[in-house]
Symmetry: C2
Subunit: 343 residues, 2 copies
DNA sequence: CTGAAAGCGCTTACAG
DNA sequence: CTGAAAGCGCTTACAG
């Protein structure tokens, strides 16, 4: 611990609960009860306390509250990934906005934790020591053992996206299957018959489920589902996949790409090969990220509401922390097709 | 406070400092000294304590440390903006990564706070109550009074980007002036003579300083600096600005755009008007964001190292918190030109 | 270099 | 519905 940064001690002024109690003419206990919204407080006492709080600009000391109450009054947002590329993703920004929106007004702080797999042990004992009352997990890869391990130490957890494997960890996810299905139905309605897909990673539920939706769509339309090329949510992998598809099936007339960011690479290759979009090849992306509207041509895409995802995760976690019963173990959020020029 | 979410009390297990002391055969005081890296501890005691900590997987309770030590052991990352659009910005992601990297290993937590201007009063009393030892400010607009107000209540603050007006708030910024200057020098070296600019917002130092750099570059080359069109870091405003420039000066042969995201709109208009990039009009962006490499054609741009910006801000703040003297009040980080196809 | 004791500012049974 | 008292798990003078 020798690398620690010393933060100089310096008592901040500001009123204590004692002063609020004195001004309101009640005991510290009563002030505490008002602050915590407990029910057995007389209206008169409540008003007096609120007035005193406002007058003194009192803000309770969180450290003391946590210590006395044996709870952190904080939830952790854990981003678990090698190199934490996630942060660069607009996906993460949307999540953060949603989490924050749902937390607004509640006196719960947001702790941002980025954790490499090799630091998982540290993180686990940190959280086991009560530094957060619960955790939201944004872990890009399905094989990450963190969600399960956190769940095992008894910390309430909600995962972002369906964790792979038979896990009991609650999660919230977009309905990726239906999203993929809708994309194909749209392409079929356009009269396309050679519909390919550029997938997401095979070790993530988002990749797997979108692919399943695509397959289902082709089955519905009784079309072949042989044109599959793998990618990993990067433009480069999208370009490689599209090149492969074009070589394999020059008659391809549509492609469902599992992410807008990947579609950027797909569009570049199509352009370079002289294919008109959507005339020769129609393209549908996934996410409705900023990239979708700025792409050339603007991308038809399956919109997922990431902010809502963040809100829902937070709502689910806070519900569990409040001891609510009958909460759905997991939730699937709807997606919708956004039509632009590319399909 | 009636909207508060109740988080059920439940004491987490985990060892206390008392048990570490017992196992190491020393007093709690000595354990505390070891944990806090104080110097007057015998090597023997230190080793015994470290062994005990490892053995028990002890992790000190932050709430108790904060309360006893009268410091939060946390810094706040404050994002102050209407609607907090910032989060959607890759800029923010890079910052976050930098802040986190610099915090790694230090026992300082990161509190993420999003604040609308109308909530500034709440935020101020919250921070005045000691919930964070210092603050990092990402405030997109120069007229935001928050940096100054925080500085006034005595909370150590470092701003991201030069605050406008005569402010004493320490800041870290990219060298936007030199970035703009280098962009123009590059365009001049390419033989361009009718060099326009699409600016950033007038109420942000980034917009103002990049424009100044552009002007300086034109003055150096003894070229006219009449082709200025204003935009606001969005693709739409970039498109409008480029349309205006093209109407005003059909002979424009280069444009320095104050942000990659704005350049996306510029490129769309140039394409629509049948202008070849870079043959007819060379384009240089700013940021070297993901958009720069995925643009058509890939964008030559002024790279700023956002992650380094986040690291430097954090380093500066922690230094001040540790009571270091002789810290530079403010810092300017270098930019560099990244050449791609557009210029 | 080390330990005993006080205290940080709250919450929570407990008794009324 | 309310208050007095104990205690949450640490840090920090103080004395040695």
């Amino acid at each position: 611990m020798s690398g620690m940064t010393e933060i100089d001690r310096q008592r901040r002024p500001g009123p204590r609960i004692e002063e609020v109690a004195r001004l309101a003419g009640v005991s510290k206990s009563t002030v505490s009860r008002v602050i915590n919204g407990e029910q057995y407080v007389s209206a008169k006492a409540r008003d007096a306390v609120h007035t005193a709080i406002t007058h003194l600009r009192y803000s309770p000391n969180q450290a003391a509250r946590s210590l006395a109450g044996s709870k952190a009054n904080a939830i952790a947002l854990i981003v678990s990934e090698q190199g934490s590329r996630v942060l660069g993703d607009p996906f993460f920004a949307g999540m953060l906005r949603g989490v924050h929106a749902e937390l607004a007004g509640r006196h719960v702080q947001l702790l941002l934790v980025l954790s490499q797999p090799r630091d998982h042990d540290d993180l686990l004992s940190y959280l086991a020591s009560g530094h957060a009352d619960g955790a939201l997990l944004v872990s890009l890869h399905g094989d990450d053992p963190l969600p399960r391990r956190l769940h095992e130490i008894g910390l309430p957890v909600v995962a972002c996206g369906r964790p792979l494997g038979a896990s009991a960890v609650p999660f919230v996810d977009s309905d990726n299957f239906t999203g993929g299905l809708d994309a194909v139905r749209h392409l079929v309605s356009l009269g396309r018959t050679r519909i390919a897909t550029v997938t997401g990673p095979r070790d993530m539920a988002a990749g797997i489920d979108r692919l399943s939706g695509w397959r289902r769509g082709l089955a519905e339309a009784e079309l072949p589902d042989d044109l599959v090329a793998e990618a990993d949510f990067t433009p480069e992998s999208g370009a490689r996949a599209m090149t492969e598809l074009l070589d394999r099936a020059p008659d391809v007339d549509a492609v469902f790409v599992a992410a807008d960011i990947t579609a950027v690479g797909v569009l570049q290759v199509l352009h370079a090969r002289g294919k008109q979009v959507p005339e020769d090849v129609a393209v549908v992306g996934f996410d409705d990220s900023l990239l979708a509207s700025t792409a050339t041509p603007p991308l038809t895409t399956v919109r997922q509401d990431i902010e809502q995802l963040g809100r829902t995760m937070t709502w689910r976690l806070l519900g569990e922390l409040a001891g609510e019963t009958g909460l759905p173990p997991s939730l699937l959020l709807p997606t919708s097709l956004v039509r632009r020029a590319s399909a």
